[in-house]
Amino acid sequence: MIVSLSSSAVRGIDGYIVRVEVDASNGLPCCSIVGLPDPAVREATERVRSAIRNSGYDFPSRRITVNLAPANTRKEGSGFDLAIAVGILAASGQLALDESVREYILLGELSLDGRVMAVRGVLPCAVAARENGFRGIVVPAANAQEAGYVHGLRVIPATDLGGIARRLAVGGLENACAEGEPAAGPESSHEAGGLDTTSGSGRGAGPAARWPEDLADVAGQAAAKRALEIAAAGGHNLLMIGPPGAGKTMLARRLRGILPPLTWDEALEVTRIYSVCGMLPPGGGMVTQRPFRAPHHTISYAALVGGGMADPRPGEVTLAHNGVLFLDEATEFRRDALEALRQPLDEGHIRIVRSSGAVLFPAGFTLVMAANPCPCGYFGDPVRPCTCPPGRVSSYLNRLSGPLLDRIDLHVEVERPRFGDIQGRAGSVTSSAVLKRVTAAREFARERLAALGVPSNARMGREHIRRAVRLSPRCRELLAHVFDQLQLSMRAYDRILKVARTIADLDASTEVGEEHIAEAVQYRGLDRSPVPVRVPDDEGSRPTSRQPARPMRD
C-alpha cells in the first residue's frame, strides 16, 4: 500500500514542498529512504523505528521504501521524521488517515520515545505551505507560535507521535477546533508574543529596544554622535577612524539603542532568517529588535557572506539584514571577506552559487566599521606622535579598498577625548532623545520611500535620488564646486545627496537645502583629504608631529 503525505524543507531561506511517499510491501524486512537524503534524513529510519515502537505501535517487518520527491534535490534536516512515521503507520494498516490530511504539511523531528521535537525553518515552511494552497500545517508544539505568524494557515501543534496520529485519523481533523489549539490561530499567537497584529507596513513590530548602554555614557564626540544619528535615520554606512581608546567601539555599540523599530514586514523577514538558522528565542517568538551583528575580525569569508558546500547557510551579512553589521578593527579583516561585502552593499542581497545551484540571501544591512588610522593608532593625533614607519601608515588604511570606501556614506574621525569632555556628562545627548528624532525622521520619509519602493534613504538608486532630491540653483552651484574641488566619483556624489536627504528628514524639511548638503559633504573626509589614506611616502612632506619616533628599518 502506498501512502503519500506532504512535508517541507528549506533551501536558502525559502521553504519548498516535499512529497513523502511510503510503500510497504512483502519481502525481506528493510527500510530504505530514497530521494537524495543526507545522513540526518537517512538516520530518520532509526529514530522513526524507536518512536513508533515506543508510541504503542508496531514497526512493520516488511519491505518499506520511503521516497522524498522531488527526488533530484538533496534533502537535509530532521523535519521529515513525523511525515515518515505517520506514513509508515498508515502504509502498514495501523492508522486510517483522514482524507483531508493531504491538505496539510507535516513537519517535525521525532525523539526515540515518540515526542515531537522542534525543528529549524518552520516559518519559511509555513509560508511555502500557504503559497502552495495547503490548508494547514502540523508542527512541533515548540514551533507553533512561529508558524502562527502566517495568516490564513491552520496550525496544529504536535507534542507526541501517538497523539498526532490519533488527531490525523479519520474524523480527527474536523473536530480539532473543539479541542482547542494552544497558540495555534494567528490571532492568539500574535497576542502571545505581545505584538501588533494589524500588519500595516508602517506599524512597528514591537517595542523599541531597551539597551543598558546610552549615548550619554560616551564623553564628548558630538560629531561622531551626530553621524550615528544620521546613520540610524537613513540606514547609511559609516566608517569611524580614530586612535585606540577614543570610543569607537563604545559609540558603535550604542547604535542599536537608537535604531528605529522594525516594521511588521521587516520583522517577518528577519524572523524568517533566524528561523532557518535556528536562532529564534526559546518559544519561537518573533524577532522584534533590529539585528546588530559584530563578528570578530578572524571571521572566515564563508561565515561572513554565507556559504557551505552542498547547502549554503546564511552568513553574518544575512543575519544583519534590516539591521547593523559592525566590523570593529575593520582593517584586520581578511581582504577577501571585506571585498565580498561589495555586492550586498550595492544590491541588498547576496547570491551564493554552488554546483548544487544558486541561493539568494537577503543582506540589506547598514555597515559600520571602526579602524585605527595606522598600526600604532596615533597617526594624525595632535599631541601623541605616531611611531609607525611611513610605508606602514599608507598601506594600513589601504587595506580598505577604494571601491569599499566608496560605498561608505559617512566617514568620521573620532578624536581622543579631552579632559574637559570627560568631566561632565551634562549636556550630552541621550539615546532616547536621539531615538525619538530618528523615529520621527523615518516616519517623515516613510511615504516618500514607499512611493519609491526602497526601505531607506541609503538604499536609493540614482533614479530614486533624482526623484527624491530636488535641488535649488544655489545647491547646484555648491555641489558643482564641491564636485570639482574634491574630485568626487559619481558614487560619492550620489552618497552626498542621499545623506543630505536624510539630514533634511531629520530637520523635517521636504526640500534639501544648502546647509544639508554642506553637512553631508563634511562626512566625505576620506575623499577630501589625501591624509591619512594616501600618505606620501617621502619624509619631507610630513609635519614634525607625525615624524616616526622609531628609526626606520628600510
Binding site: 519481502g27 525481506l28 524486512p29 528493510c30 527500510c31 514497526f59 517487518s61
Partner: protein
C-alpha cells in the same frame, strides 16, 4: 565480496570443540520445541546451501521466519543474542535471499522476518529461552 567472509562462503570453517557442538545441538532442539509451542510451523532445520546454513525456517502467522539460534553454555561472554552481530546479520540476509530464490517468484513476495532465539544453558535443568521476534532488518 563473498570471499571476504570465509565462514559465510564455505559454511562453518572453524571446527568447534565437541562440547560446544553438543551445546549448540541441544540448544536448537530446545528452541524448536519452544517455537512449536508458540505456534511456529517449522519448515526446515539446518537448511544448507553453498553460502552456509540457516538454523531454522518456520512459518508464523502467515510470515516466513528465518530463525538463528544462539546457544550459550555460559553467559560470561555475553548472551547468545549479542553474538548476532552485523556480520552475522548480513550472512543471514544473504542466506534468506538464497532460500527465497529457490522458491521462485512466489518467494520474493512473501512477508518475511528474522527472529533470533537465545538459549541459555548455563544453569542445570530447563534452558532459558528468549525469542526475539523481528530481531533485525536488512540494512
Amino acid at each position: 565480496m563473498l570471499a571476504k567472509n570465509r565462514r559465510g562462503v564455505s559454511g562453518p570453517a572453524v571446527r568447534r570443540p565437541a562440547a560446544d557442538r553438543a551445546v549448540g545441538r541441544a540448544g536448537e532442539d530446545a528452541a524448536a520445541e519452544e517455537l512449536t509451542r508458540r505456534g511456529y510451523v517449522i519448515l526446515e532445520r539446518n537448511w544448507r546451501c553453498r553460502f552456509g546454513e540457516i538454523d531454522m525456517v518456520a512459518e508464523h502467522r502467515g510470515t516466513l521466519v528465518f530463525v538463528e539460534v544462539k546457544s550459550r553454555g555460559s553467559v560470561r561472554f555475553g548472551s547468545g543474542a549479542e553474538a548476532v552481530d552485523a556480520r552475522k546479520q548480513r550472512r543471514l540476509v544473504r542466506l534468506a535471499r538464497a532460500y527465497l530464490c529457490g522458491r521462485g517468484r512466489a518467494g520474493l513476495d512473501t512477508p518475511c522476518r528474522f527472529d533470533v532465539v537465545a538459549v541459555d544453558m548455563s544453569r542445570p535443568g530447563r534452558p532459558g529461552i528468549d525469542v526475539i521476534e523481528d530481531a533485525f532488518a536488512v540494512s
